[in-house]
């Protein structure tokens, strides 16, 4: 997995609450058996009309937001279906960080597996960042994972919390399966013990 470097990029505002994974990537695109190429269909039903033409009002279609790397979103982002196609589509579009007041659990975990940093901030901070994102491509937001800060284009900095282990994996681009394979003896031991204690499993 790609390492998460310090990110300086355009942030797009999506203040709508409860943006679900059906909105992020509609089911018609789940029929793929690959992980790549979903960025073009990110937010498909909000982004295109039925003829496939772009809807100009949609934030990512606006000229100043075409190179968005950071999303500032309303509460409970990524709720609904567990589809990892959602973070795949987000990453494929080029977005590396999503900031909200809260995320749905499965989506939150899926982000880390795909080099995306989800950041939880209190409402008053999200309000400030949302305003900053509204400035468009003239503004650059800075996300520093190492220092755990988000800095607005005006230089105002806000700290954020992230699980230390998840941070380490993201900074180093570590592969989970590889990490777990290092503990294969523990898994063997657990299975041997369970064969005695709960043989019906």
């Amino acid at each position: 997995m790609e390492k998460f470097e310090k990110l300086t990029g355009i942030a797009a505002p999506m203040p709508l609450v409860n943006i679900d994974t059906d909105m992020i990537i509609p089911k018609v695109f789940l029929k793929t058996i690959k992980r790549s190429g979903l960025g073009v269909n990110l937010f498909d039903e909000m982004r295109y009309d039925r003829q496939g033409n772009e809807i100009p009002d949609f934030v990512l279609n606006k000229p100043q937001y075409r190179d968005t790397q950071i999303l500032v979103a309303g509460d409970n982002f990524g709720c609904g279906s567990s589809r990892e196609h959602a973070p795949w589509a987000i990453a494929d579009f080029g977005i590396k960080c999503v900031i909200s007041t809260s995320f749905a659990d499965i989506f939150y975990n899926n982000c880390f597996k795909n080099g995306i940093l989800p950041i939880v901030m209190p409402q008053e901070v999200v309000d400030v960042l949302m305003k900053d994102a509204e400035k468009g491509s003239n503004a650059r937001m800075v996300v520093d994972l190492e220092a755990q800060t988000v800095t607005t284009s005006d230089g105002e900095s806000f700290p954020f919390e992230v699980d230390a282990f998840k941070k380490h994996c993201l900074l180093e681009g570590l592969d989970d399966i590889g990490l777990t394979m290092a503990h294969v003896k523990d898994i063997d031991a657990y299975e041997a013990k369970m064969a005695q204690e709960r043989p019906w499993v």
Binding site: P15, K31, T32, I33, C79, K113, F165, I187, W200
Partner: protein
Amino acid sequence: MTAPKTLYDKIWDAHVAHEQEDGTCLLYIDRHLVHEVTSPQAFEGLRMAGRKVRAPEKTIAVPDHNVPTTLDRVSGVIANEESRIQVEALDKNAKEFGVNYYPVSDVRQGIVHIVGPEQGWTLPGMTVVCGDSHTATHGAFGALAHGIGTSEVEHVLATQTLIQKKSKNMKVEITGKLRPGVTAKDITLAVIGETGTAGGTGYVIEYCGEAIRDLSMEGRMTVCNMAIEGGARAGLIAPDETTFEYVKGRPHAPKGAQFEAALNWWKTLYTDEGAHFDKVVTLKGEEIEPVVTWGTSPEDVLPISAVVPAPESFKGGKVDAAKRAIEYMGLEVGQKLTDIQIDTVFIGSCTNGRIEDLRAAAAILKGKKIKDGIRAMVVPGSGLVRAQAEEEGIAQIFIDAGFEWRLAGCSMCLAMNPDQLSEGERCASTSNRNFEGRQGYKGRTHLVSPAMAAAAAVTGHLTDVRELMTETETA
């Protein structure tokens, strides 16, 4: 003496294969359920890394999301090419990696969350995962069950573990008795209406209280199924005699002395007196009414007697979300919910596709016809549910009323197969999500219980099911 533990604490502690200093654990997974949509990339990942499935005997695969539910599917061909490729990929992967498999042609095929319990794969005290958010369903057995993404599917296939940190404990208590016409679906929707769709974020919920205890296993599965819609990682119900009775004799449940040994352990799976919950929500069972959703989030829940709310009655970002929802749903503020005319009725899904759900709907439909012009379909949750409903005469009640009687699958719950709403089509649905476009592009979904869905089919509008019940039923 050890500190009192919650049910969640106990199951968690029984599955930690390794713990780091920071509390990150390798949680051992007892059952891994797999379907065709979220698994192909995971199997491909294994193949590319030259890895095997660590515990194929604990892995159960079944195609459900994409499969057609029309009777012509027995001819074996899926018309939509992408759907066909996904199902064929699962066929191939199941064979190559040697996992348990129920192909489309098998009578036991159905929705993965219905097949697992039905076949006795799901047992109390287990950890159960699947690349599907409604894995929460299995929590009804007192199993720690939750959805995972495809990277985690690959991780479980390769290692039979997940890298996890523990969630917090939340208790949802439903006291007292439910009133006639009120079902498990109304409980679970009412809870989400109370807590909101993010109310459970960071928690595992334990549902308890008299109204929960009184539910059958089918009802408990309905309640836990939608824990995810409340934002929780998982929902749990402590196993009891109802659970043990359901499990006993299922094909993959333990037998004889093994069953007795298992039972001894299962009986220890309850929350100890004095155990700590980080959050507690209590609802009175008597006060829950039959409910419906009016908007595009499962938290948009109101009693059927209510009216479409004004967006200004909400706070923060929900004001704009409610405005958008009312417009999307084509409703008027102040409109009575019972005045909402519907086009379609869908009965099925992992939320309400079990035999008891079909019985509840059939009880309302018996001797009645659906309203002219309504499209109505029943999609049983599995081939075995379908067979049982046919044996009990329920299938005939649906057919006589004017419903289509389909084969098993996820169907219109997420509309990945041809069962979809068209633009503007309005559906009373027993499924779990009323998101924009969920049941078809610009389709409009009102979530209801099976009995409420049947009532709506008869009258052609959202209806209080109690009006269609006889005096003895409502007494």
